[in-house]
Symmetry: C3
Subunit: 458 residues, 3 copies
């Protein structure tokens, strides 16, 4: 027996105390710093003498709701594919995202919109906060089932800060364009999570191997996540792009890219599948790579053909990643990537960044006309050439990989703190470690808890 009774009591208090502390601290910081912006404040808005129809709410809120559905329904249910980890998948998604969006409102606020001592919030900050929560959930996908909720909250605490700084460096210092976050969200979230998972490597994880797969119904629940992510991704990439043609074009490009990645995924899944049969894991994940791969370029003049080609490429690469690279990642690189975020967010994110380099480098005044101002303001103002924009886009990818790797490493060390509660190797991917779980059938009593205390990690 590893833990004395008082130590066990200490462990069970970790999650509640951490929640209370984080929520309390966040609330105090909100009280001091966060204020309505001039589009949400009753007095400021009416002072402006605007027409109500001009309120940004009407241009951004429907997209916000789609993004919100992706973060909470999409990510949450996508990860329910694990047979005995559905409560944790959807529950920890809920917890992490609810914390990350508050914390991110503060961090992004300090970095992006801190004026005269206050952070000003509205629908734009809501979307940005949800984007950051999305990055945290991507990282969650890499460590899902192998970490406790208190560990995950600490991961979010660190990751949101680094996400904000990386985003600030890219968008504000380097003038990089990344509307849908191929770099800032997907690449950052994936490699942060993968490096963190590397640090937490569990050589004895095969003790939980039998719980690592899906069952028939859990795969159907996961498809709820997949489909909601898929349908709303055009809103994700376009939520914060320039109003008018910019937002319209971004949604259109993403729509085409996703359609092509779906066909690419079905083709490759059947091609590499046993007896030509399709693999649900590929369909659930790789079909979404089309959304990731145009995250940077969908606001640009990618052309509909460009969107199809990019999406198709991403779908195929992602499927091949699930089939051939994930096993190598574990055996050679000692990275246990529960949901395959390397295939869905990592590689397609990097591809998306490179596609952004290409399309930015091809930008001309002819192709964009007066719209150049809203896509590449620095080129339009003559401050840089398309080529230097492309070079800076590439540098932005490099910066993102650095921040993600160093951050993931730090995160791993943080989560290894010995007093943090973590499931034992034999109890990974198991809801009963964290939840009171009912049986699977009416007449079945609650399953006995099978957590062997002696086996606890630490």
């Amino acid at each position: 027996m590893a833990g004395s009774p008082s130590r066990a009591a200490g462990r069970r208090l970790q999650l509640p105390l951490l929640c209370l502390f984080l929520q309390g601290a966040t609330a105090v910081l909100f009280a001091v710093f966060v204020r309505y912006n001039h589009k949400t404040d009753a007095a400021l808005w009416h002072r402006g003498n605007y027409s109500n129809a001009d309120n940004e709410f009407y241009f951004r809120y429907p997209s916000f709701q789609d993004v919100h559905a992706m973060v909470f329904v999409g990510f949450g249910f996508l990860m329910v594919f694990l047979q005995r980890y559905g409560f944790s998948s959807v529950g920890f998604t809920f917890l992490l995202a609810a914390f990350a969006l508050q914390w991110s409102t503060l961090i992004q606020g300090f970095l992006h919109s801190f004026h005269s001592g206050h952070i000003h919030v509205g629908v734009e900050s809501m979307i940005n906060a949800d984007f950051c929560a999305g990055a945290v959930l991507i990282s969650l996908g890499a460590v899902l089932g192998k970490t406790g909720p208190a560990q995950l909250l600490l991961m979010a605490l660190l990751e949101v800060v680094l996400f904000g700084i990386n985003e600030f460096v890219l968008l504000h210092l380097l003038g990089v364009r990344d509307a849908g976050g191929s770099m800032t969200i997907h690449t950052f979230g994936a490699y942060f999570g993968l490096v963190l998972s590397r640090v937490l490597y569990r050589p004895q994880l095969e003790k939980s191997k039998h719980r690592q797969g899906s069952v028939y119904h859990s795969d159907l629940f996961a498809m709820i996540g997949t489909i909601f992510l898929w349908i709303f991704w055009p809103s994700f990439n376009s939520a914060l792009t320039a109003l008018g043609a910019g937002q319209h074009r971004t949604a259109l490009n993403t729509y085409y890219s996703l359609a092509a990645s779906t066909l690419g995924t079905f083709a490759l899944s059947a091609l590499v599948g046993e007896d030509g049969r399709l693999d649900m894991v590929h369909i659930q994940n790789a079909a979404l790579a089309g959304g990731v791969v145009v995250g940077t370029s969908s606001e640009m003049m990618l052309t509909p053909f460009g969107a199809l080609a990019a999406g198709f490429l991403a779908g195929t690469v992602s499927t091949l990643g699930y089939k051939f690279f994930t096993p190598i990642l574990e055996s050679k690189f000692k990275v246990q990537d529960t949901c395959g975020v390397h295939n869905l967010h990592g590689m397609p994110g990097v591809l998306g960044a490179l596609l952004g380099v290409l399309v930015a480098g091809l930008a001309t005044h002819e192709a964009y006309g007066d719209g150049l101002e809203s896509v590449f303001p620095l080129i339009a103002e003559g401050q840089r050439s398309a080529t230097s924009q492309a070079m800076l886009q590439l540098f932005g990818l490099f910066v993102t990989l650095m921040f993600a790797s160093v951050g993931g490493g730090l995160g791993g060390l943080l989560l290894k703190l010995p007093f943090l509660d973590s499931p034992p190797d034999s109890q990974c991917y198991e809801d009963q470690v964290h939840w009171q779980v009912p049986g699977e059938h009416e007449d079945e009593a609650q399953r006995p808890l099978r957590v062997e205390e002696a086996d606890t990690q630490a």
Copy 2:
């Protein structure tokens, strides 16, 4: 054997005949009274020489769709947590809401928008009708599993009328503000249902105790309901608030409140849980209390900090209610509250009303500027002070509790009419009483019907 064959035949005709009668009567009343308003009528709209962009449709319809999703997906699936009552939970939600929205269009129309002999309808009446349907579904949560569909339709028939009158008294006679319905929807719906459940108290309900819990998959289905309610709640509270900053601020406040109630719920659930483990019932329900608690105040200048604090308080109170108060409610007060609506809608609704009293009482011309006109028109016009607004808000809560209690009592007496079909004590929470139910597995024949006629109530 309690029922003769002819009586059994009479029972099976109750639901179809009641549906046909209610739909027929509603259709006749629609034919006589309901007309397109000037924003939906082809001739009237074009006579007005408006720009199409001014049509209220574009300001309200996306919010309506979110509310619609909450009513039918959210409420429906939230109640699927019961292991053998999924068909009824989602099906009766569907039936009740489809009836309530028609009936409420008439009742609210007569009370709020009856001009020159006609009710005029458009997106605003659609949202109001869905709100009323929401209140009916809250009451359903208190009696779920213990009532037949004909009984429930009669409940809706009565409740919609009382909902409309209470709403009229509050909003029109007292000038109370209640945009998201902390009082008119949540408090009213909850206490109406709880008193009704008290009147229908079943001392022998433990005969169905084994069916009253969830199974693993039913809890996951319920999380679909939870998450859709959670993500769309900002649209619920803001759907009918003043355009521009009003709608924007309401959505933002609700977003923060929900995030904080989620952290509060996780903290308290783990704190009071056996071995520090989380309870799915709390996460499914109490995390939503943040939406309820700002139903009155989210359109006001609550401040982001105020939203966080209110949400956190609601999440904790609601969780504690599930843990400690629900058992007392049954044992001491003889109220069998199937879904715990007292914890999710009752207490947070009352708290939300009191928060509205507080925030209304603090209203100043400085804080609201010209926006005071759209939030507190009577204060802006100098007809009342902030303090008297606060007093009237408090009186509104009192009126709501009166209407709900008396209405719920009447409803209970109505539903006890001896000829109404009601499941026997041993067959509560059981789909087979009302539905043709397939087995749970491919090779399983349909389960035999286990309804013991002899045991029938009434």
Copy 3:
């Protein structure tokens, strides 16, 4: 053994090669023909000197997202009711719709918006493409479980072309009105699929009878599809109607029609059900008939009463169809209609077309005022009378039935090509033919593949 190893290898390559070919050909055609329209192109939009608020994106995109959710979530999950065909139902919906929307962008583009050698795309083409995908999915419902994915892609390849031509004949040549597609989408999709299913008639299908029903959980998954279709149908019918009052009125009429069809369905289902018990198949499907039946007339001055009456009629007819006509359809007409599309889309579609004839015939300048221009432009311009509009609406129904029947016949012959992979009679409605399927429980090994090669169709 019917197939040599090389032939088996050939079969398993059908799906991947067809996907790759179709995606490749589509991409090439996109490269040559498809361009951003002036609302999505950076240069063209800004050249126009429009206000961003005027971009069609803000008037149509929220409706598009609702339609998108209906196509992928609604249709996909509605068909998950089959106990062992959930992966295929949601997966093939995903595949077919992702292909059909691309292919339809081309076909509809060539027919409707081909100017100076290019197809111009934007949110309107996205909605139209999703509509066409919807028709393909309706046809899928008739043949679900009895066809392989390569067959289905070929069906879509043909159907999209015929859909586009039929739509062109109706809307452009005949000047028929059909905003929500009672004719062009529902009637066309249903009869195309039914005739196709007739050609593919399998006399030995009872070998798979035991897999043709639902299980408890699969019915709950199907209700996800039902409810999302139901809530978003107002957006479906209104997505492309005239801006302003037109879109507003269409949504409102559809909302009422669906509410009434729900009550009609519950009434009839209980009336004809064994022991008065409700049948989940009716609720899942017939309650939606209210959306189909006002597909043509909801943009017209149908009146709220008219919407209720139409919806109620559709719900009852559809329920009776499931109960009494589906068995006859199979036994007498040799049409095996897996999802009952004749009841949900066929009969209600025809009824909807006839309702459109009636309401168009009653159109007057008084009732529509200046709005007549946007609903019946040819009547407004004096080019035809209301009566001739009604006659042409009726002729449009006739044309649609012709195109659908001939097209479905051709489709059936195409799908019978002997080299196409098709599940054997004993392996219909079985995911394992097409997918790697996990077990249903944690401790269960993957079920052995039970496809008997010897029994393969061809």
